[in-house]
């Protein structure tokens, strides 16, 4: 057995004798298991609920009686965002985004009923998930276990004894690293096993899972290195502990909260009222479908008449009101897309600013890595919203075309007692409308989004390793 292994074994023996350390380790493992179990149960429940709601909404849509197609445009449909396979590991923004959306004509609605608005104030203290335990709690445990690793030897003078017995500086530091690394492995193992079990039941892609495992391994390794580094640099274990807790508090607790404030101050976000008023203003500029003399819609009417070679809308082979609805929806939807695109872009730059702060707080980098790989970050939510909008547009236009082809202009404009019946088309049409299917991003995409975070953490790990190598060379030289 070489010196490093001996030192590692000795350090581990010392930790095992420390009753507080053992209790802390056991508690952390228990906490991880509780987090895995509760998060898994919670996500399963949400998933079932959303699937049930989705099913109800689809059935209700299909079961509508004979209707005027435009009624169905307003009847609209509900869609529910399915959870990503790894949401039980890291639910990310899911609780904040709202998960149900009402899709209807002429309007772009927000996603509603996020958990955050349906929970007590405790939601702001964080969520007990495996990701939270590994991101926040595990580093603190490692600090408590490892702050004295080298500092203790320096403080008590045992470092010289060790070196006199032939242990090189490198062997001592490597031994300490190995011991603390073993504890880190013990800490991370239940969460990783939980992750694998979750993935097994939900069929998650393996690539993002590998990135998550790699990311958290690098994260804990970074802490192990940083702890040994501080313990090496600082002569007294008391100072090492205070310095490490301070580093932890700043990078894990403080900076992740400060960064969003910086981002929201730097990039303002238009609120809904401003957006809606701006859209209404642009719509008036583009054309007013209510006004017969509106230039845009007058030109549209001329082009339709020319296309069919007739002079009056009454003579068209299709229902002009339906065509008008198609055109109107096209105009409004283009505006919705422009404004939501601007909002997404603003939110994207806000997140980029947070990411830049992440360069000094690897905790932020890890969080975005974890959310991105789990498919629970803003990018994944945005892709849901965009798919929802595409589906909404397609559905509304299909219904508008049904109005153009299935309802005659004469009936559509009539207002006699029987007109309401004549305007309706057969209920069978509703069943033919496609249901919403959410296409989750594939494993490669998720892993790709997580890559920047991984790079940042790897960079920090290399920096810490280099510093440690440097500090090792000077170990025990001073005083």
């Amino acid at each position: 057995m070489n010196a490093a292994t001996l030192i590692a074994l000795d350090e581990l023996r010392l930790m095992r004798r420390n009753r507080v350390a053992v209790i802390a380790c056991v508690l952390l493992v228990l906490l991880t298991l509780v987090a895995v179990a509760s998060s898994w149960a919670h996500q399963r429940e949400i998933e079932d609920l959303r699937a049930r709601h989705q099913h109800e909404a689809e059935q209700a849509f299909d079961a509508q009686p004979d209707r005027h197609p435009h009624r169905m445009v307003h009847y609209g449909t509900f869609i529910f965002r399915p959870l990503s396979a790894l949401a039980a590991f890291d639910p990310g923004v899911d609780a904040f985004t709202g998960n149900s959306m009402f899709l209807e004509g002429h309007r772009q609605n927000t996603a509603n009923f996020g958990d955050v608005n349906q929970s007590s104030l405790l939601v702001r203290f964080g969520q007990l998930t495996p990701a939270f335990v590994l991101q926040t709690v595990a580093p603190l445990l490692l600090i408590f276990l490892g702050y004295g690793a080298v500092a203790r030897e320096t403080e008590r003078g045992t470092l010289r004894v060790l070196m006199m017995q032939g242990a090189t500086r490198g062997a001592i530091v490597r031994g300490k690293l190995r011991a603390l690394g073993t504890v880190a492995l013990l800490v991370v193992l239940p969460a990783i096993l939980g992750l694998v079990a979750l993935a097994g039941t939900s069929g998650a892609a393996s690539l993002p899972m590998a990135v998550i495992v790699l990311g958290y391994a690098a994260w804990l390794l970074l802490w192990v290195t940083a702890i040994v580094l501080v313990s090496t640099l600082v002569g007294r274990s008391r100072d090492a502990l205070l310095a490490l807790v301070a580093i932890w508090a700043v990078s894990v607790v403080l900076l992740p909260r400060v960064a969003p404030d910086i981002a929201s101050a730097a990039v303002p976000l238009q609120n809904r009222l401003q957006t809606e008023v701006a859209i209404a203003r642009d719509l008036r500029r583009l054309g007013d479908a209510h006004s017969p003399d509106d230039p845009h819609f007058a030109a549209f009417k001329r082009s339709v008449l020319r296309l069919y070679g007739v002079t009056r809308v009454e003579d068209l082979p299709v229902n002009y009101k339906g065509l008008l609805a198609v055109e109107g929806e096209k105009v409004t939807s283009a505006l919705f897309e422009r404004y939501s695109g601007e909002s997404y872009a603003a939110q994207g730059s806000q997140n980029a600013i947070v990411g830049m702060v992440g360069a000094i707080s690897p905790a932020i980098a890890l969080r975005s890595l974890s959310m991105a790989a789990a498919g629970t970050d803003f990018a994944a939510h945005r892709s849901f919203l965009e798919q929802a909008e595409a589906y909404r547009y397609d559905l509304v236009q299909r219904l508008n075309r049904l109005q153009a082809d299935g309802v005659t202009y004469a009936n559509d404009t009539a207002s006699d007692a029987d007109a309401d019946r004549r305007k309706r088309i057969a209920a069978g049409n509703w069943e033919k409308m496609p249901d919403f299917t959410y296409r989750a991003p594939d494993g490669a995409t998720l892993a790709g989004r997580a890559l920047p975070g991984l790079v940042v953490i790897a960079g920090w790990l290399m920096l810490a390793g280099a510093l440690l190598a440097f500090a090792t060379c000077r170990l025990g030289e001073r005083r």
Binding site: S38, Q64, L269, R272, L273, Q274, Q350, D377
Partner: protein, 419 residues
């Protein structure tokens, strides 16, 4: 007095302690500035409503004036409501970043409108805001621990403890003086910037005093905990480690665990179910005799029962009536939903009696009116305003009175103060 001065001099000479106090003051000030900036942004957004609304309503009024149809006017005009931040909101932003504080409603079914959210970036909301409440609840205890964990153990390790313990009453007065001095410094580091910011924001003196008392109480709790751990006669390092572990458990782990337990134990009917039911109720009206709807509507609104009977053509009063009837049919669901939210909130609050971190957060957001109670009160104000709005338009629709440009000016306005 000279003893106090002496201790103060000793403390002021400790470079690390003074740096810590200074850092806490800087962090507090930064959080207050960030909170005030956020509240300022919200106030500006509320102030900007008037112009945007005038433009929007002006355009609608221009074309409604041609037909003078009250139904179109009611259908197309959205009316703004807002929830202005209280003077103290800057200290604890609570739910104001994720719950809407501006909401436009129209006289149609309210249940389809009242749960709408505003635009916010979920990734920014996720970690929680950097506000005064955060500095107090999360960070201040760490500073107390840093300054107080080695009060006795430090002396023991320096070999002075026996001498000090030989003082009358085992030096109790000395430890008290030292603890109180540290507390006073930390309290000043948090309290002075807060009092200044609260003064600028126009917070009532009574509320400032209550919060200063709250800060003192919370700091005392952590100082007491430090003293208790100190009595176990462990080393300074063991004291620091166990106090930090206690902090982790009391501030991070137990509240998050409590969140999981509360949400499991108190199921809340999903709001989405209300939305689904509302749509069914409203759209079903197209398939039943219109008289059935009107009968149901007149039963709850007898003042319009003598309105002219419906003809064969579409009439907006029927359209608005079935939206109203749809809302009324959901009253039970809405009540259960609200009760569920309130029970969750109350349970979390009562957890505050045993978890000081939760208690302080609940008290601060309660006083700042940024909690769920305030959110529900805002919803009540919207409901009340919506009722006045409906009655205003009903007065035209059910009497077939023409609705001209000038009538838009008579529409009731939302009054944030009285609802």
């Amino acid at each position: 007095m000279t003893l106090w001065m002496h201790e103060a001099r000793l403390l002021l000479r400790q470079r690390l302690a003074m740096i810590a106090v200074g850092l806490l003051a800087v962090l507090t000030a930064a959080a207050l500035v960030a909170g005030m900036a956020e509240v300022g942004r919200q106030r500006a957004a509320i102030a900007a409503i008037v112009a945007a609304q005038a433009e929007d309503i002006g355009a609608i009024a221009a074309w409604v004036d041609k037909e003078k149809d009250a139904g179109s006017a009611a259908y197309y005009s959205f009316h703004p409501t807002w929830n202005a931040p209280s003077p103290l909101a800057f200290a604890a932003l609570g739910m104001r970043d994720v719950s809407p504080y501006i909401l436009r409603v129209r006289a149609l079914g309210l249940e389809a409108q009242i749960y709408d959210g505003d635009t916010f970036n979920p990734e920014l909301a996720l970690p929680g805001r950097f506000d005064f409440a955060f500095v107090l609840v999360f960070l201040a205890p760490l500073f107390v621990i840093a300054l107080c964990h080695d009060l006795t153990s430090g002396e023991r390790e320096a070999g002075r403890w026996r001498t000090l313990a030989a003082l009358p009453h085992g030096g109790a007065a000395l430890w008290r003086r030292r603890t109180l001095l540290r507390l006073a410094l930390l309290w000043a580091a948090i309290g002075v910037p807060f009092a200044v910011a609260a003064g600028i924001s126009g917070v009532a003196a009574g509320a400032i005093l209550v919060i200063l008392g709250l800060v003192l109480g919370y700091l005392l709790f952590w100082a007491g905990l430090s003293a208790l751990i100190g009595r176990l006669r462990w080393s300074s390092v063991a004291n620091a480690a166990s106090l930090a572990a206690l902090w982790l458990v009391l501030v991070l782990v137990l509240p998050t665990l409590g969140h999981v337990v509360i949400n499991r134990a108190i199921p809340v009917n999903q709001g989405a179910e209300i939305a689904l039911a509302q749509r069914e109720a409203v759209n079903h009206a197209w398939d039943i005799p219109r008289e059935d709807t009107m009968r149901a509507f007149y039963a709850s609104h007898p003042q319009w029962a003598d309105s002219a009977p419906l003809g064969t053509a579409f009439h907006y009063k029927w359209y608005f009536a079935f939206h109203q009837v749809g809302d009324e049919s959901l009253a039970g669901k809405v009540r259960t939903y609200r009760q569920g939210l309130e029970t969750r909130d109350q349970t979390a609050r009562s957890l505050g009696w045993v978890l000081p971190s939760v208690g302080v957060q609940a008290l601060l957001t309660g006083m700042a009116r940024t909690d769920l109670t305030a959110q529900l009160a805002y919803r009540d104000q919207i409901r009340d305003y919506h009722r006045r709005l409906r009655e205003f338009y009903y007065g035209y629709m059910f009497r077939d009175r023409p609705f001209g440009k000038a009538d838009f000016d008579h529409a009731p306005r939302f009054d944030a103060a009285t609802g």
